[in-house]
Symmetry: C2
Subunit: 590 residues, 2 copies
């Protein structure tokens, strides 16, 4: 039997369907950060499995567009005889099409995988964009993984803090204010929040892949495959009108006759535009749930605080274990490795009450591996934890009552003086931002530079954001708030949950990041401050203490006292001495 490559198979299908080409993005219908294997069409087609990119397959050429992060990886993963690599941002697909295809060239695409903004850009090119009625991958991808069918569970009101019925009334009220008849909800975490459910389609992301329609009376039609519903109490199911996931687009077409439908402007698939606009009107707007969800209620906030106690105890057990094992194993010539260590950390977390799963794939990175911000250990890359070298751990848990995310960078022994200065600068930036009082409603881009200034003073910087929202047993990167250089228009107010995580990375040498999760609280009328949720000692053994001022030392001492008091009752007895040492006041012991 002739072994046809995916590219050849797709080209034959295109010919049979009178198309000159097709766009294949790394995307699912929800523009998810983490996709199910079922949706990794781009990886199947090209071999490239990065988290962003798209292919343009033509009769005689195939192009893969990836961003700066993935230029190297793409060249390793794809067959360069078959596929040309282009730059996703420097030479966007729309520009390439504008300069390289004849007018009228028929380019197919799946309208569920493309956002309205992406479609608008491509519409300006001379080619003819053809939305496909059927996906070629349904037939061509013969060894395709099964569609995700993760069980959906109830998120009880004792944990969510507000009934779904009450939430739906609040959203319906906003629909009324905006003169919209329906809200088409395509963001899985917004559906999870609104319906008080959690899913398991994708590891670490407890959101159900599905769609929903909310009408102005608060009623919900939920488009979700019923093989996911067996664990959901009948009473919950009865609260909604249920339909298969695939029925969503047709239903939007049917109900939008003469109606106004609010659709998320940033993430919704252009398929909704095609379905609604012929006979209805779309109100393009940020899904109002996005902002409501970001303003946590008192029950959610209490849950975050509580699960950070559990997570902090797991961290302290882990760090105490590391402090014993790293030197011993290194001395014995059999050092611990990144993979061993992250397995042990998971074991500590799994003992904690309420723990469900990790909230993202752990970054366990020793020495130069930590210079790659998004590194994940593999057998091939696995490095040892040696003395006098930094080890970076960025990990977190999904708990019944909340979600955690923290990073600590540690060393046993003493790293070189230059690296100590880098660590001290990252810590000073972290302290500068976390001690800030700011007017309620200040935006993230106004605050970002506080975390960078100590690095800027050394002529250094880091190439990622400083903080992101964290969902409540939801996504680890929750919209809409960000603290970053890039403009983010969403005002920071009491009740938001963020991370604060400056870092510094020197390629082929080392990487440093210090991250606490924080709650924004009102400090006085009109002003807010950050209150740490994270309860994990910060390694001071690599700090140039002479470079810390009194306020910085005072914050660290107070924080460590808070950690000690909160966590010491929760940790293993053999971890307690380490905790006391790690949280001892600077003024006394150092």
């Amino acid at each position: 039997m002739h072994n046809t490559s995916p590219l050849s198979a797709l080209r034959q299908w295109l010919g049979e369907n009178h198309l000159d080409g097709m766009i294949v993005p790394r995307a699912d219908a929800w523009q998810s950060e983490y996709c199910a294997p079922y949706d990794e069409k781009l990886a199947w087609l090209t071999g490239f499995d990065g988290s962003a990119g798209l292919a343009l397959v033509l009769k005689d050429r195939a192009l893969l567009f990836v961003d700066g992060r993935y230029q190297v990886q793409a060249r390793v993963q794809v067959n360069m005889d078959e596929v040309e690599i282009h730059h996703l941002h420097n030479e966007p697909l729309a520009d390439w099409l504008a300069h390289n295809v004849a007018p009228g060239t028929r380019i197919g695409f799946e309208a569920l995988l493309m956002t309205n903004a992406e479609y608008a850009q491509l519409s300006a090119t001379p080619c003819e964009l053809v939305p496909l009625k059927a996906s070629p991958f349904d037939t061509l991808w013969t060894d395709r993984p099964a569609a995700p069918a993760g069980a959906i569970r109830e998120m009880p009101v004792e944990t969510s803090g507000e009934s779904s019925a009450d939430k739906r009334q609040r959203v319906a009220q906003i629909l009324a204010e905006k003169g919209a008849d329906y809200l088409a909800i395509t963001l899985p975490d917004n559906i999870a929040w609104l319906l008080n459910v959690r899913g398991s389609d994708i590891p670490t992301s407890p959101v159900p892949l599905s769609f929903a329609l909310l009408s102005r009376d608060g009623g919900v039609e939920w488009f979700v495959n019923d093989n996911k519903l067996h664990a959901l109490p009948q009473a919950v199911r009865d609260a909604f009108t249920l339909a298969p996931q695939d029925a969503f687009i047709d239903r939007c077409k049917q109900l939008s006759q003469g109606k106004r439908v609010l659709v998320d402007a940033d993430s919704a698939p252009v398929a909704l535009r095609f379905a609604i606009e012929p006979q209805g009107e779309i109100v393009w707007h940020t899904d109002p749930i996005t902002l409501m969800k970001a303003n946590k209620n008192p029950t959610e906030l209490a849950g975050y605080r509580e699960c950070h106690h559990q997570d902090g105890a797991a961290w302290v057990n882990f760090l105490a274990w590391l402090s014993r094992e790293v030197p011993q194993r290194a001395e014995a010539g059999n050092p611990l490795t990144e993979l061993e260590v992250q397995a042990q950390q998971l074991a500590f977390r799994e003992r904690q009450p309420g723990f469900i799963e990790q909230s993202f794939a752990t970054i366990s990175a020793a020495m130069s591996n930590a210079a790659m911000c998004h590194y994940h250990s593999s057998d091939a890359s696995n490095k040892p934890l040696l003395q006098d070298h930094f080890y970076l751990n960025d990990s977190g848990g999904q708990y019944q009552n909340g979600t955690t995310d923290a990073t600590r960078t540690l060393a046993w022994g003493k790293v070189d003086p230059q690296q100590r200065l880098h660590y001290t600068a990252v810590l000073k930036g972290f302290l500068s931002l976390i001690t800030l009082q700011f007017p309620s409603g200040t935006q993230g881009h106004q605050l970002d530079a506080f975390a960078r200034r100590p690095l800027w003073e050394m002529g250094l910087d880091y190439d990622h954001g400083t903080g992101h929202g964290v969902g409540h047993q939801l996504l680890i990167h929750e919209n809409p708030h960000r603290i970053a250089k890039k403009v983010n228009p969403w005002p920071l107010v009491a009740g938001n949950i963020m991370t604060i995580e400056p870092g510094y990375y020197l390629a082929d040498s080392h990487g440093i990041r210090i991250e606490n999760q924080v709650e924004i609280v009102e400090s006085r009328p009109g002003f807010c401050k950050f209150a740490s949720l994270t309860l994990i000692p910060i390694d001071l053994s690599q700090v140039e203490l002479s470079l810390l001022n009194d306020q910085e030392k005072q914050w660290l001492d107070e924080y460590h006292q808070q950690v000690r008091e909160a966590i010491s009752p929760l940790v293993d007895s053999d971890a307690r001495p380490w905790l006391f040492e790690a949280t001892a006041p600077i003024r006394v012991n150092r």
Copy 2:
């Protein structure tokens, strides 16, 4: 003779011209911050003479829209029996029209006084917008001041650093890159920069009110009334094709047939759209001169540095004089007043080589008057300078080789402890920003919060921007750069000139502002810092020195040493002892 009010006269004119109403903005054709008396139509019509606002005159109602700053002033100045006051931003004119006028209501407007964006907003209302062929003010305003006819002078290349011909070639190159045939230049400071001329139509703003067209070959048609040209050398005049100012719009209509004309998207009058669009194409874009002008050349930078020496010496003579006179006059029961003091300051400036005129109306504000950020003294408001109270002076000069802008807040004796804390916080914010090193290309909104943090820590803030560009013998508020809370997309790079001016204001009590003008310089590859142009001692007598850290004291000492060394050779001998005292190092004397 019956005394007809301006409003009645305008209404009669509207009736005769088959109009239901008219929009009268506080604007000239250049959207100038400071208007000539000739252009103060709104003040003549309503009595309101603030710097922003507009009137809608209907047959039976007249509405004045002013922003928050002017709600009180407008109610004092207008006849409330005739005119209703509305809020310019909370209830914009377009919203009011949408809800209050019948479809087809004919509203006249002058297309030279309205920007394209303003027109676009009003176009969405049901009324019919009628661009007027002739301005009613030409006939109705019988005692109208003469049109500005300020003489235009050459800005020699020795001072501007680049010939007009070279500048025009650089701009023409950008036109070619953008595929535009012409640049329609409506911003007076951009014309002044491009043609190497300065004007005198409006006091403190040495820009010629005129228009210009640059073609892709670098040729310029300059639409300027020839009664302004008598002081301009023939060779300069011969470099351009001259035409009367009024011929500009018709010429745009004529030359745009089948052509692409670049028009400033933010400030150009909608009259240009009406003139060009029927037969040509407008490329809406920020006038490229705006950015070229903001990146000063070495000659301009040297000029700024030099004129700040002259201005610094005038300040020091003035401050030494104040230090003698304030206590003496207060003791004698005949205290100095704001108006006396600003006249004396002007006298000191007028003695300096190269001084032309003030660069803006001086703010000379004692005690509670300083709480009004945009205060200007009058006989009615004139307050005494008393001991133990703050006095704020914000002033600057237009010099042959540059423009200055600085603020100092001073007191003789000792102000109350709370006010000392406010002064110390403003100083700390000033120091935090001015000592910053930042990556080249950072934007103003990313840096603004450094200047506010010490106030934020006290639960305080100030309601204005932190820094603005300053022209080179041009406008005191030069676009496009700003340091402010509001997003400003223009990257800060070496060669930009800015102010740094945090403040604090407590209504009915006191106002504080400390302002240096700075040059942005490269500090190391990829990074910039601020270098002070301003050379004026900062009053440390009201600072709580215990709240300053070592770096802050060090910067002040080094700055004062720089001021002393630069300025002491230039000041009157009787001012020198004061200068030495005012610039003495903190560690030694205080």
